[in-house]
Protein backbone atom coordinates (compact mmCIF):
# COMPACT_ATOMS: atom_id res chain seq x y z
CA UNK A 1 0.00 0.00 0.00
CA UNK A 2 2.81 2.39 0.75
CA UNK A 3 5.44 1.00 -1.54
CA UNK A 4 3.83 1.74 -4.84
CA UNK A 5 5.07 2.77 -8.24
CA UNK A 6 1.69 4.02 -9.42
CA UNK A 7 1.88 7.57 -10.60
CA UNK A 8 5.63 7.55 -10.99
CA UNK A 9 6.19 7.56 -14.73
CA UNK A 10 9.60 7.72 -16.19
CA UNK A 11 9.62 10.33 -18.90
CA UNK A 12 13.27 10.07 -19.76
CA UNK A 13 15.86 7.40 -20.05
CA UNK A 14 17.87 9.14 -17.38
CA UNK A 15 15.04 8.72 -14.92
CA UNK A 16 14.67 5.08 -15.88
CA UNK A 17 18.34 4.47 -15.27
CA UNK A 18 18.55 6.15 -11.88
CA UNK A 19 19.80 4.09 -8.98
CA UNK A 20 16.63 4.50 -7.02
CA UNK A 21 13.85 4.99 -9.51
CA UNK A 22 11.10 4.79 -6.92
CA UNK A 23 10.45 7.87 -4.85
CA UNK A 24 9.97 5.71 -1.76
CA UNK A 25 13.44 4.29 -2.21
CA UNK A 26 14.96 7.75 -2.45
CA UNK A 27 13.15 8.86 0.69
CA UNK A 28 14.26 5.72 2.47
CA UNK A 29 17.87 6.32 1.49
CA UNK A 30 17.67 9.89 2.70
CA UNK A 31 16.34 8.76 6.05
CA UNK A 32 19.07 6.15 6.44
CA UNK A 33 21.82 8.61 5.65
CA UNK A 34 20.35 11.20 8.01
CA UNK A 35 20.07 8.60 10.76
CA UNK A 36 23.64 7.52 10.16
CA UNK A 37 24.89 11.06 10.66
CA UNK A 38 22.66 11.47 13.68
CA UNK A 39 24.32 8.49 15.32
CA UNK A 40 27.45 10.55 15.73
CA UNK A 41 25.70 12.69 18.25
CA UNK A 42 24.45 9.90 20.47
CA UNK A 43 27.75 10.01 22.34
CA UNK A 44 27.75 6.21 22.43
CA UNK A 45 31.47 5.59 22.03
CA UNK A 46 31.17 1.84 22.11
CA UNK A 47 28.61 1.81 19.33
CA UNK A 48 30.73 4.03 17.16
CA UNK A 49 34.16 2.63 17.87
CA UNK A 50 33.40 -1.07 18.09
CA UNK A 51 30.50 -1.39 15.70
CA UNK A 52 29.82 1.39 13.21
CA UNK A 53 33.32 2.45 12.19
CA UNK A 54 34.61 -1.08 11.47
CA UNK A 55 31.29 -2.04 9.88
CA UNK A 56 31.63 0.81 7.39
CA UNK A 57 35.28 0.06 6.73
CA UNK A 58 34.66 -3.63 6.11
CA UNK A 59 31.72 -2.73 3.90
CA UNK A 60 34.08 -0.66 1.80
CA UNK A 61 36.51 -3.57 1.53
CA UNK A 62 33.59 -5.81 0.64
CA UNK A 63 32.56 -3.39 -2.10
CA UNK A 64 36.10 -3.56 -3.39
CA UNK A 65 36.11 -7.33 -3.53
CA UNK A 66 32.61 -7.35 -4.96
CA UNK A 67 33.74 -5.25 -7.90
CA UNK A 68 36.36 -7.85 -8.72
CA UNK A 69 34.63 -11.09 -7.78
CA UNK A 70 30.95 -10.23 -7.89
CA UNK A 71 30.84 -8.03 -10.98
CA UNK A 72 33.87 -9.12 -12.96
CA UNK A 73 33.81 -12.74 -11.85
CA UNK A 74 37.49 -12.91 -10.91
CA UNK A 75 37.87 -14.80 -7.66
CA UNK A 76 40.45 -13.15 -5.45
CA UNK A 77 41.91 -14.31 -2.16
CA UNK A 78 44.31 -11.40 -1.89
CA UNK A 79 42.04 -8.83 -0.22
CA UNK A 80 44.02 -8.79 3.00
CA UNK A 81 47.23 -8.08 1.16
CA UNK A 82 45.76 -5.27 -0.91
CA UNK A 83 44.28 -3.67 2.19
CA UNK A 84 47.73 -3.82 3.71
CA UNK A 85 49.29 -2.11 0.72
CA UNK A 86 46.92 0.79 1.19
CA UNK A 87 47.66 0.98 4.90
CA UNK A 88 51.43 0.91 4.57
CA UNK A 89 51.38 3.30 1.59
CA UNK A 90 49.32 5.71 3.62
CA UNK A 91 51.74 5.39 6.52
CA UNK A 92 54.78 6.14 4.38
CA UNK A 93 53.06 9.08 2.73
CA UNK A 94 51.79 10.48 6.01
CA UNK A 95 55.14 10.32 7.69
CA UNK A 96 57.05 11.59 4.68
CA UNK A 97 54.74 14.54 4.04
CA UNK A 98 53.12 15.44 7.34
CA UNK A 99 51.97 18.85 6.12
CA UNK A 100 49.60 17.43 3.56
CA UNK A 101 46.12 16.68 4.84
CA UNK A 102 45.78 13.05 5.86
CA UNK A 103 42.53 12.61 3.92
CA UNK A 104 44.47 13.27 0.74
CA UNK A 105 46.86 10.50 1.66
CA UNK A 106 44.12 8.07 2.59
CA UNK A 107 42.52 8.55 -0.79
CA UNK A 108 45.87 8.45 -2.57
CA UNK A 109 47.09 5.29 -0.89
CA UNK A 110 44.41 3.43 -2.78
CA UNK A 111 46.28 4.10 -6.01
CA UNK A 112 49.32 2.25 -4.73
CA UNK A 113 47.13 -0.70 -3.89
CA UNK A 114 45.62 -0.39 -7.37
CA UNK A 115 49.08 -0.58 -8.92
CA UNK A 116 49.96 -3.73 -6.99
CA UNK A 117 46.54 -5.12 -7.85
CA UNK A 118 47.18 -4.63 -11.55
CA UNK A 119 50.56 -6.32 -11.22
CA UNK A 120 49.09 -9.43 -9.62
CA UNK A 121 46.17 -9.27 -12.00
CA UNK A 122 48.33 -9.60 -15.10
CA UNK A 123 48.22 -13.42 -15.02
CA UNK A 124 44.44 -13.20 -15.40
CA UNK A 125 44.73 -13.13 -19.15
CA UNK A 126 45.99 -16.68 -19.26
CA UNK A 127 44.70 -18.03 -15.99
CA UNK A 128 41.06 -18.38 -15.14
CA UNK A 129 38.68 -19.19 -12.35
CA UNK A 130 40.05 -21.29 -9.57
CA UNK A 131 43.63 -21.08 -10.84
CA UNK A 132 43.45 -17.32 -10.69
CA UNK A 133 42.42 -17.63 -7.06
CA UNK A 134 45.68 -19.44 -6.36
CA UNK A 135 47.57 -16.66 -8.13
CA UNK A 136 45.95 -14.18 -5.78
CA UNK A 137 47.02 -16.38 -2.89
CA UNK A 138 50.58 -15.82 -4.08
CA UNK A 139 49.89 -12.09 -3.83
CA UNK A 140 48.43 -12.45 -0.36
CA UNK A 141 51.28 -14.45 1.13
CA UNK A 142 53.96 -12.45 -0.64
CA UNK A 143 52.53 -9.11 0.47
CA UNK A 144 52.12 -10.24 4.04
CA UNK A 145 55.71 -11.42 4.05
CA UNK A 146 56.80 -8.06 2.65
CA UNK A 147 54.93 -6.15 5.34
CA UNK A 148 56.84 -8.19 7.89
CA UNK A 149 60.28 -8.29 6.34
CA UNK A 150 60.75 -4.94 4.67
CA UNK A 151 61.80 -2.56 7.43
CA UNK A 152 61.55 0.47 5.18
CA UNK A 153 57.76 0.09 5.22
CA UNK A 154 57.57 0.67 8.95
CA UNK A 155 60.17 3.43 8.84
CA UNK A 156 62.70 1.07 10.43
CA UNK A 157 60.62 0.93 13.59
CA UNK A 158 62.06 -1.80 15.82
CA UNK A 159 58.68 -3.18 16.83
CA UNK A 160 57.68 -3.80 13.24
CA UNK A 161 54.32 -2.15 13.82
CA UNK A 162 52.92 1.10 12.51
CA UNK A 163 51.20 3.68 14.63
CA UNK A 164 48.88 6.48 13.74
CA UNK A 165 50.43 9.86 14.42
CA UNK A 166 48.35 12.89 15.24
CA UNK A 167 46.70 14.51 12.23
CA UNK A 168 44.02 17.14 12.12
CA UNK A 169 41.37 18.48 9.78
CA UNK A 170 40.38 22.11 10.25
CA UNK A 171 42.08 21.95 13.63
CA UNK A 172 40.13 18.93 14.84
CA UNK A 173 42.18 15.74 15.45
CA UNK A 174 40.99 13.00 13.15
CA UNK A 175 43.90 10.61 13.29
CA UNK A 176 45.93 9.65 16.31
CA UNK A 177 45.31 9.07 19.98
CA UNK A 178 43.36 12.31 20.46
CA UNK A 179 40.87 11.74 17.71
CA UNK A 180 37.49 11.01 19.23
CA UNK A 181 35.24 8.25 17.93
CA UNK A 182 32.61 10.80 16.88
CA UNK A 183 34.99 12.69 14.66
CA UNK A 184 36.50 9.57 13.18
CA UNK A 185 33.04 8.13 12.58
CA UNK A 186 31.93 11.22 10.69
CA UNK A 187 35.03 11.10 8.52
CA UNK A 188 34.60 7.39 7.82
CA UNK A 189 30.90 7.77 7.10
CA UNK A 190 31.44 10.59 4.64
CA UNK A 191 34.25 8.81 2.84
CA UNK A 192 32.27 5.59 2.59
CA UNK A 193 29.19 7.34 1.26
CA UNK A 194 31.27 9.18 -1.31
CA UNK A 195 33.13 6.07 -2.45
CA UNK A 196 29.94 4.01 -2.57
CA UNK A 197 28.37 6.63 -4.81
CA UNK A 198 31.37 6.36 -7.13
CA UNK A 199 31.17 2.58 -7.13
CA UNK A 200 27.51 2.74 -8.06
CA UNK A 201 28.35 5.10 -10.93
CA UNK A 202 30.93 2.69 -12.25
CA UNK A 203 28.81 -0.44 -12.08
CA UNK A 204 25.79 1.13 -13.73
CA UNK A 205 27.73 2.33 -16.74
CA UNK A 206 29.71 0.85 -19.56
CA UNK A 207 32.49 -0.45 -17.33
CA UNK A 208 30.11 -2.31 -15.03
CA UNK A 209 28.43 -3.93 -18.01
CA UNK A 210 31.76 -4.96 -19.48
CA UNK A 211 32.76 -6.55 -16.17
CA UNK A 212 29.52 -8.48 -15.97
CA UNK A 213 29.94 -9.52 -19.59
CA UNK A 214 33.35 -11.06 -18.96
CA UNK A 215 31.99 -12.67 -15.82
CA UNK A 216 29.10 -14.32 -17.63
CA UNK A 217 30.87 -15.40 -20.79
CA UNK A 218 34.21 -13.89 -21.57
CA UNK A 219 34.47 -15.47 -24.99
CA UNK A 220 31.28 -13.78 -26.10
CA UNK A 221 32.42 -10.53 -24.53
CA UNK A 222 35.61 -10.59 -26.53
CA UNK A 223 33.67 -11.29 -29.69
CA UNK A 224 31.75 -8.12 -29.02
CA UNK A 225 34.78 -5.93 -29.01
CA UNK A 226 35.50 -5.87 -25.29
CA UNK A 227 39.22 -5.95 -24.62
CA UNK A 228 39.59 -8.69 -22.06
CA UNK A 229 42.94 -7.85 -20.54
CA UNK A 230 42.19 -4.14 -20.16
CA UNK A 231 38.81 -4.80 -18.60
CA UNK A 232 40.18 -7.39 -16.19
CA UNK A 233 43.08 -5.19 -15.16
CA UNK A 234 40.70 -2.30 -14.62
CA UNK A 235 38.67 -4.54 -12.33
CA UNK A 236 41.80 -5.42 -10.36
CA UNK A 237 42.78 -1.77 -10.18
CA UNK A 238 39.39 -0.50 -9.04
CA UNK A 239 38.93 -3.33 -6.58
CA UNK A 240 42.37 -2.92 -5.07
CA UNK A 241 41.85 0.82 -4.82
CA UNK A 242 38.81 0.30 -2.64
CA UNK A 243 40.55 -2.37 -0.55
CA UNK A 244 43.60 -0.15 -0.17
CA UNK A 245 41.56 2.80 1.04
CA UNK A 246 39.68 0.50 3.39
CA UNK A 247 43.01 -0.77 4.72
CA UNK A 248 44.29 2.75 5.30
CA UNK A 249 41.07 3.67 7.06
CA UNK A 250 41.27 0.50 9.12
CA UNK A 251 44.64 1.44 10.53
CA UNK A 252 44.35 5.18 10.82
CA UNK A 253 40.71 5.80 11.49
CA UNK A 254 39.91 2.77 13.59
CA UNK A 255 42.69 0.70 15.15
CA UNK A 256 45.17 3.53 15.50
CA UNK A 257 48.01 1.20 14.59
CA UNK A 258 48.66 -2.19 13.06
CA UNK A 259 50.96 -5.14 12.68
CA UNK A 260 51.40 -7.21 9.60
CA UNK A 261 49.17 -9.93 11.04
CA UNK A 262 46.11 -7.75 10.56
CA UNK A 263 46.25 -8.28 6.81
CA UNK A 264 46.37 -12.06 6.84
CA UNK A 265 44.56 -14.74 4.88
CA UNK A 266 41.66 -14.74 7.30
CA UNK A 267 40.91 -11.16 6.34
CA UNK A 268 40.79 -12.25 2.71
CA UNK A 269 38.46 -15.12 3.47
CA UNK A 270 36.16 -13.11 5.67
CA UNK A 271 35.78 -10.39 3.07
CA UNK A 272 34.95 -13.09 0.55
CA UNK A 273 32.38 -14.51 2.93
CA UNK A 274 30.87 -11.07 3.33
CA UNK A 275 30.18 -10.76 -0.34
CA UNK A 276 28.97 -14.31 -0.70
CA UNK A 277 26.46 -13.95 2.09
CA UNK A 278 25.63 -10.38 1.20
CA UNK A 279 25.22 -11.05 -2.48
CA UNK A 280 27.73 -11.24 -5.29
CA UNK A 281 27.38 -8.37 -7.71
CA UNK A 282 25.40 -6.19 -5.36
CA UNK A 283 26.65 -3.04 -3.67
CA UNK A 284 24.01 -3.09 -1.00
CA UNK A 285 24.81 -6.75 -0.48
CA UNK A 286 28.32 -5.74 0.54
CA UNK A 287 26.82 -3.80 3.42
CA UNK A 288 24.52 -6.65 4.37
CA UNK A 289 27.36 -9.15 4.35
CA UNK A 290 29.64 -6.93 6.38
CA UNK A 291 26.87 -6.36 8.87
CA UNK A 292 26.17 -10.03 9.30
CA UNK A 293 29.74 -11.22 9.54
CA UNK A 294 31.07 -8.38 11.59
CA UNK A 295 28.22 -7.30 13.79
CA UNK A 296 26.88 -10.77 14.49
CA UNK A 297 29.71 -11.87 16.78
CA UNK A 298 29.45 -8.61 18.70
CA UNK A 299 25.78 -9.24 19.11
CA UNK A 300 26.50 -12.76 20.25
CA UNK A 301 29.07 -11.44 22.65
CA UNK A 302 26.44 -9.33 24.33
CA UNK A 303 23.51 -11.68 24.01
CA UNK A 304 24.96 -15.01 25.08
CA UNK A 305 26.48 -13.98 28.40
CA UNK A 306 23.18 -12.33 29.23
CA UNK A 307 21.31 -15.53 28.40
CA UNK A 308 23.69 -17.80 30.25
CA UNK A 309 24.23 -15.63 33.32
CA UNK A 310 21.07 -16.81 35.13
CA UNK A 311 22.45 -20.35 34.87
CA UNK A 312 25.75 -19.36 36.35
CA UNK A 313 27.56 -20.14 33.10
CA UNK A 314 30.06 -17.76 31.65
CA UNK A 315 31.37 -17.58 28.13
CA UNK A 316 34.79 -16.36 27.13
CA UNK A 317 35.63 -14.10 24.21
CA UNK A 318 37.62 -16.95 22.72
CA UNK A 319 34.53 -19.07 22.62
CA UNK A 320 32.68 -16.28 20.88
CA UNK A 321 35.41 -16.24 18.25
CA UNK A 322 35.11 -20.01 17.76
CA UNK A 323 31.35 -19.66 17.51
CA UNK A 324 31.79 -16.94 14.94
CA UNK A 325 33.83 -19.23 12.69
CA UNK A 326 31.26 -21.95 13.19
CA UNK A 327 28.27 -19.77 12.41
CA UNK A 328 29.90 -18.03 9.45
CA UNK A 329 30.91 -21.35 7.95
CA UNK A 330 27.43 -22.73 8.42
CA UNK A 331 25.87 -19.58 6.96
CA UNK A 332 28.04 -19.78 3.88
CA UNK A 333 26.91 -23.31 3.21
CA UNK A 334 23.32 -22.39 4.00
CA UNK A 335 23.27 -19.41 1.67
CA UNK A 336 24.99 -21.19 -1.15
CA UNK A 337 22.40 -23.92 -0.99
CA UNK A 338 19.31 -21.87 -0.33
CA UNK A 339 20.00 -18.49 -1.93
CA UNK A 340 23.24 -18.25 -3.85
CA UNK A 341 22.58 -14.62 -4.56
CA UNK A 342 22.76 -13.83 -0.89
CA UNK A 343 20.97 -11.41 1.33
CA UNK A 344 20.69 -8.87 -1.48
CA UNK A 345 18.35 -11.19 -3.34
CA UNK A 346 16.31 -11.77 -0.20
CA UNK A 347 16.11 -8.00 0.16
CA UNK A 348 14.92 -7.67 -3.43
CA UNK A 349 12.31 -10.34 -2.91
CA UNK A 350 11.21 -8.59 0.22
CA UNK A 351 10.79 -5.33 -1.66
CA UNK A 352 8.83 -7.10 -4.40
CA UNK A 353 6.46 -8.47 -1.83
CA UNK A 354 6.19 -5.05 -0.29
CA UNK A 355 5.24 -3.51 -3.62
CA UNK A 356 2.13 -5.62 -3.82
CA UNK A 357 1.34 -5.67 -0.12
CA UNK A 358 -1.25 -6.18 1.20
CA UNK A 359 -2.05 -8.34 -1.80
CA UNK A 360 -0.19 -11.64 -2.17
CA UNK A 361 0.81 -11.06 -5.80
Amino acid sequence: MFYREAGQYKTSYAADMAVFPLRQDRIGLGIIIAAAYALAFTKNDFLLQAVMIPFLIFSLAAIGLNLLTGYAGLLSLGTGGFMGVGAYACYKLMTAFPEVNVLVWILTSGFFAAGIGVLFGLPSLRIKGFYLAVATLAAQFFLQWAFNRVPWLVNYNVSGAIEAPLRTLFGVPIVGPNATPEVRYLVVLTLVIFLTWIASNIVRGRVGREWMAIRDMDIAAELMGIKLLNTKLLAFAASSYYCGVAGAMLVFLWYGGAEYTVFDINQSFFTLFMIIIGGLGSLIGSFFGAALIFIMPIGLGMLLPALLAPFGLSIGSETIEHLRFLIVGALIIFFLIVEPHGLARLWQIGKQKLRVWPFPY
Binding site: R215, A220, M224, I226
Partner: protein
Protein backbone atom coordinates in the same frame (compact mmCIF):
# COMPACT_ATOMS: atom_id res chain seq x y z
CA UNK B 1 22.32 4.02 -37.80
CA UNK B 2 25.52 3.60 -39.76
CA UNK B 3 28.85 5.19 -39.05
CA UNK B 4 31.13 4.71 -42.01
CA UNK B 5 34.73 4.96 -40.87
CA UNK B 6 36.25 2.27 -43.05
CA UNK B 7 37.03 1.94 -46.78
CA UNK B 8 33.79 2.38 -48.65
CA UNK B 9 32.72 -0.78 -50.39
CA UNK B 10 29.68 -0.54 -52.56
CA UNK B 11 26.94 -3.08 -52.71
CA UNK B 12 27.89 -6.03 -54.89
CA UNK B 13 31.62 -5.79 -54.24
CA UNK B 14 33.41 -8.50 -52.37
CA UNK B 15 33.27 -7.76 -48.64
CA UNK B 16 34.94 -10.88 -47.31
CA UNK B 17 37.14 -13.28 -49.24
CA UNK B 18 38.17 -16.67 -47.88
CA UNK B 19 41.15 -17.99 -49.83
CA UNK B 20 42.44 -21.56 -49.52
CA UNK B 21 41.75 -21.64 -45.83
CA UNK B 22 42.71 -24.77 -43.92
CA UNK B 23 42.25 -25.32 -40.22
CA UNK B 24 43.78 -28.11 -38.27
CA UNK B 25 43.50 -29.26 -34.64
CA UNK B 26 46.36 -31.63 -33.94
CA UNK B 27 45.78 -34.37 -36.47
CA UNK B 28 42.22 -33.46 -37.36
CA UNK B 29 41.59 -31.23 -40.35
CA UNK B 30 38.47 -29.18 -39.69
CA UNK B 31 38.76 -27.22 -42.95
CA UNK B 32 40.69 -28.10 -46.11
CA UNK B 33 41.46 -25.54 -48.74
CA UNK B 34 38.15 -23.70 -48.64
CA UNK B 35 37.66 -20.66 -50.83
CA UNK B 36 34.60 -18.49 -51.33
CA UNK B 37 33.60 -14.88 -51.06
CA UNK B 38 30.79 -12.89 -49.57
CA UNK B 39 29.51 -9.85 -51.41
CA UNK B 40 28.33 -6.75 -49.69
CA UNK B 41 24.60 -6.62 -49.15
CA UNK B 42 23.92 -10.28 -49.81
CA UNK B 43 22.69 -13.08 -47.61
CA UNK B 44 25.14 -15.97 -47.92
CA UNK B 45 24.18 -19.35 -46.54
CA UNK B 46 26.77 -21.89 -45.41
CA UNK B 47 25.30 -25.35 -45.24
CA UNK B 48 26.46 -28.90 -44.92
CA UNK B 49 25.99 -32.04 -42.86
CA UNK B 50 27.08 -32.16 -39.23
CA UNK B 51 30.79 -31.90 -38.68
CA UNK B 52 31.34 -30.26 -42.05
CA UNK B 53 33.24 -27.40 -40.47
CA UNK B 54 30.63 -24.67 -40.79
CA UNK B 55 31.02 -23.30 -37.27
CA UNK B 56 34.80 -23.58 -37.59
CA UNK B 57 34.55 -21.42 -40.70
CA UNK B 58 32.60 -18.77 -38.84
CA UNK B 59 35.09 -18.97 -36.00
CA UNK B 60 37.90 -18.28 -38.44
CA UNK B 61 36.12 -15.28 -39.89
CA UNK B 62 35.59 -14.04 -36.37
CA UNK B 63 39.19 -14.36 -35.30
CA UNK B 64 38.43 -17.00 -32.71
CA UNK B 65 40.40 -19.64 -34.60
CA UNK B 66 43.38 -18.81 -36.79
CA UNK B 67 43.61 -20.69 -40.07
CA UNK B 68 46.67 -22.90 -40.34
CA UNK B 69 46.82 -22.15 -44.05
CA UNK B 70 45.32 -19.65 -46.44
CA UNK B 71 44.05 -16.20 -45.73
CA UNK B 72 40.95 -14.21 -45.04
CA UNK B 73 40.53 -10.75 -46.53
CA UNK B 74 37.97 -8.36 -45.11
CA UNK B 75 37.18 -5.02 -46.72
CA UNK B 76 40.20 -5.34 -48.90
CA UNK B 77 42.60 -5.95 -46.01
CA UNK B 78 44.25 -9.27 -45.28
CA UNK B 79 43.56 -10.45 -41.74
CA UNK B 80 46.30 -12.77 -40.53
CA UNK B 81 46.22 -13.49 -36.80
CA UNK B 82 43.29 -11.40 -35.75
CA UNK B 83 41.98 -11.34 -32.21
CA UNK B 84 38.20 -11.55 -31.84
CA UNK B 85 37.82 -8.08 -30.41
CA UNK B 86 39.68 -6.64 -33.40
CA UNK B 87 37.25 -8.41 -35.73
CA UNK B 88 34.40 -6.99 -33.70
CA UNK B 89 35.70 -3.46 -33.92
CA UNK B 90 36.26 -3.98 -37.62
CA UNK B 91 32.57 -4.57 -38.17
CA UNK B 92 31.97 -8.28 -37.74
CA UNK B 93 29.32 -9.49 -35.31
CA UNK B 94 27.89 -12.92 -34.71
CA UNK B 95 25.42 -15.06 -32.87
CA UNK B 96 26.08 -18.55 -31.58
CA UNK B 97 24.66 -22.00 -31.88
CA UNK B 98 24.19 -22.32 -28.14
CA UNK B 99 22.95 -18.92 -27.15
CA UNK B 100 25.88 -16.99 -25.72
CA UNK B 101 24.03 -14.33 -23.81
CA UNK B 102 25.18 -12.84 -20.54
CA UNK B 103 22.87 -14.79 -18.31
CA UNK B 104 23.34 -12.59 -15.28
CA UNK B 105 22.10 -9.44 -17.04
CA UNK B 106 18.78 -8.17 -18.34
CA UNK B 107 17.79 -7.96 -22.00
CA UNK B 108 18.46 -4.26 -21.98
CA UNK B 109 21.90 -4.67 -20.43
CA UNK B 110 22.82 -7.41 -22.87
CA UNK B 111 22.03 -5.25 -25.84
CA UNK B 112 23.67 -2.22 -24.24
CA UNK B 113 26.75 -4.41 -23.83
CA UNK B 114 26.74 -4.71 -27.59
CA UNK B 115 27.15 -0.94 -27.77
CA UNK B 116 30.31 -1.11 -25.70
CA UNK B 117 32.65 -0.81 -28.62
CA UNK B 118 30.92 2.37 -29.70
CA UNK B 119 31.21 4.02 -26.32
CA UNK B 120 34.09 6.37 -26.02
CA UNK B 121 33.94 7.97 -22.60
CA UNK B 122 36.80 6.65 -20.52
CA UNK B 123 37.00 5.47 -16.95
CA UNK B 124 37.32 8.94 -15.45
CA UNK B 125 33.97 10.02 -16.88
CA UNK B 126 32.41 6.73 -15.84
CA UNK B 127 33.42 7.40 -12.27
CA UNK B 128 31.61 10.72 -12.37
CA UNK B 129 28.77 9.38 -14.49
CA UNK B 130 26.71 12.57 -14.36
CA UNK B 131 27.70 14.68 -17.31
CA UNK B 132 29.36 13.34 -20.45
CA UNK B 133 29.17 9.65 -19.53
CA UNK B 134 25.47 9.80 -18.74
CA UNK B 135 24.74 11.73 -21.92
CA UNK B 136 26.60 9.12 -23.94
CA UNK B 137 24.71 6.36 -22.17
CA UNK B 138 21.36 7.98 -22.98
CA UNK B 139 22.38 8.41 -26.61
CA UNK B 140 23.20 4.73 -26.89
CA UNK B 141 20.09 3.81 -24.96
CA UNK B 142 18.09 5.45 -27.74
CA UNK B 143 19.79 3.27 -30.32
CA UNK B 144 19.19 0.18 -28.22
CA UNK B 145 15.52 1.06 -27.81
CA UNK B 146 15.26 1.30 -31.59
CA UNK B 147 16.62 -2.20 -31.84
CA UNK B 148 14.24 -3.39 -29.15
CA UNK B 149 11.33 -1.89 -31.09
CA UNK B 150 12.58 -3.48 -34.28
CA UNK B 151 12.74 -6.92 -32.68
CA UNK B 152 9.49 -6.42 -30.78
CA UNK B 153 10.94 -7.35 -27.40
CA UNK B 154 9.83 -4.30 -25.44
CA UNK B 155 7.98 -6.34 -22.85
CA UNK B 156 11.06 -8.28 -21.74
CA UNK B 157 13.39 -5.34 -21.48
CA UNK B 158 14.12 -5.70 -17.79
CA UNK B 159 13.89 -9.48 -17.55
CA UNK B 160 17.12 -11.36 -16.76
CA UNK B 161 17.81 -13.26 -19.96
CA UNK B 162 18.33 -16.53 -18.13
CA UNK B 163 14.60 -16.55 -17.49
CA UNK B 164 13.54 -16.10 -21.10
CA UNK B 165 12.24 -18.76 -23.43
CA UNK B 166 14.76 -20.08 -25.92
CA UNK B 167 13.21 -18.35 -28.93
CA UNK B 168 13.25 -15.00 -27.18
CA UNK B 169 16.84 -15.53 -26.10
CA UNK B 170 17.86 -15.99 -29.70
CA UNK B 171 16.08 -12.78 -30.57
CA UNK B 172 17.89 -10.90 -27.82
CA UNK B 173 21.16 -12.33 -29.07
CA UNK B 174 20.37 -11.02 -32.53
CA UNK B 175 19.64 -7.65 -30.98
CA UNK B 176 22.98 -7.64 -29.23
CA UNK B 177 24.77 -8.39 -32.47
CA UNK B 178 22.82 -5.66 -34.24
CA UNK B 179 23.80 -3.19 -31.55
CA UNK B 180 27.34 -3.45 -32.84
CA UNK B 181 26.19 -1.96 -36.19
CA UNK B 182 28.11 -4.63 -38.03
CA UNK B 183 28.90 -4.64 -41.69
CA UNK B 184 29.03 -8.40 -41.66
CA UNK B 185 26.70 -10.38 -39.45
CA UNK B 186 27.45 -14.05 -38.86
CA UNK B 187 24.48 -16.09 -37.74
CA UNK B 188 25.17 -19.60 -36.46
CA UNK B 189 21.94 -21.58 -36.75
CA UNK B 190 19.63 -18.76 -35.73
CA UNK B 191 16.54 -20.92 -36.23
CA UNK B 192 17.73 -23.96 -34.29
CA UNK B 193 15.19 -25.29 -31.87
CA UNK B 194 12.41 -22.97 -32.99
CA UNK B 195 8.87 -23.81 -33.96
CA UNK B 196 7.37 -22.73 -37.28
CA UNK B 197 5.99 -19.44 -36.01
CA UNK B 198 9.26 -18.47 -34.37
CA UNK B 199 11.14 -19.40 -37.54
CA UNK B 200 8.92 -17.17 -39.61
CA UNK B 201 9.48 -14.30 -37.20
CA UNK B 202 13.23 -14.78 -37.21
CA UNK B 203 13.32 -15.06 -41.00
CA UNK B 204 11.44 -11.81 -41.25
CA UNK B 205 13.94 -10.16 -38.92
CA UNK B 206 16.89 -11.48 -40.87
CA UNK B 207 15.44 -10.18 -44.12
CA UNK B 208 14.62 -6.82 -42.54
CA UNK B 209 18.14 -6.47 -41.20
CA UNK B 210 19.51 -7.16 -44.65
CA UNK B 211 17.11 -4.92 -46.52
CA UNK B 212 16.59 -2.05 -44.09
CA UNK B 213 20.10 -1.75 -42.72
CA UNK B 214 21.98 -3.16 -45.69
CA UNK B 215 23.87 -5.56 -43.41
CA UNK B 216 25.67 -8.37 -45.17
CA UNK B 217 24.74 -11.68 -43.62
CA UNK B 218 26.46 -15.07 -43.52
CA UNK B 219 24.12 -17.70 -42.23
CA UNK B 220 24.60 -21.29 -41.10
CA UNK B 221 21.34 -23.11 -41.21
CA UNK B 222 20.00 -26.64 -41.42
CA UNK B 223 16.45 -25.85 -42.41
CA UNK B 224 16.53 -26.06 -46.24
CA UNK B 225 13.33 -24.11 -46.62
CA UNK B 226 14.82 -21.16 -44.77
CA UNK B 227 18.03 -21.40 -46.76
CA UNK B 228 16.22 -21.44 -50.10
CA UNK B 229 13.93 -18.58 -49.15
CA UNK B 230 16.41 -16.25 -47.58
CA UNK B 231 19.76 -16.62 -49.21
CA UNK B 232 21.18 -15.08 -52.34
CA UNK B 233 24.00 -17.58 -52.66
CA UNK B 234 24.95 -20.79 -50.89
CA UNK B 235 28.23 -22.46 -49.97
CA UNK B 236 28.11 -26.17 -49.21
CA UNK B 237 30.76 -27.79 -47.01
CA UNK B 238 31.36 -31.48 -46.36
CA UNK B 239 34.16 -32.89 -44.19
CA UNK B 240 35.86 -29.52 -44.28
CA UNK B 241 35.83 -29.15 -48.04
CA UNK B 242 33.71 -26.95 -50.25
CA UNK B 243 31.58 -29.05 -52.57
CA UNK B 244 29.29 -26.42 -54.07
CA UNK B 245 29.05 -22.65 -54.34
CA UNK B 246 26.11 -21.23 -56.29
CA UNK B 247 22.61 -19.82 -56.15
CA UNK B 248 20.11 -21.78 -53.99
CA UNK B 249 18.28 -23.35 -56.90
CA UNK B 250 21.44 -24.67 -58.50
CA UNK B 251 22.76 -25.99 -55.22
CA UNK B 252 19.51 -27.79 -54.56
CA UNK B 253 19.97 -29.77 -57.74
CA UNK B 254 23.71 -30.37 -57.38
CA UNK B 255 24.44 -34.09 -57.25
CA UNK B 256 27.29 -33.86 -54.81
CA UNK B 257 25.17 -31.89 -52.37
CA UNK B 258 22.39 -34.44 -52.55
CA UNK B 259 24.88 -37.22 -52.01
CA UNK B 260 26.38 -35.46 -49.03
CA UNK B 261 23.05 -35.10 -47.31
CA UNK B 262 21.37 -38.30 -48.26
CA UNK B 263 24.31 -40.60 -48.81
CA UNK B 264 25.37 -42.36 -51.99
CA UNK B 265 23.47 -45.49 -52.98
CA UNK B 266 25.77 -48.53 -52.82
Amino acid sequence: MRAPDSPVITKGDVLLAVENVSLRFGGVKALSDVSFDIRKGEIRAIIGPNGAGKTSMLNCINGFYHPTDGSITFKGERRPKMRPHVAARGGIARTFQNVALFKGMTTLDNIMAGRSLKMRKGFFWQVLRHGPALREEIEHRRVVEDIIDFLEIQAIRKVPVGKLAYGLQKRVELGRALAMEPELLLLDEPMAGMNLEEKEDMSRFVLDVNQQFGTTIALIEHDMGVVMDLSDRVVVLEYGRKIADAKPDEVKRDERVIAAYLGVPH
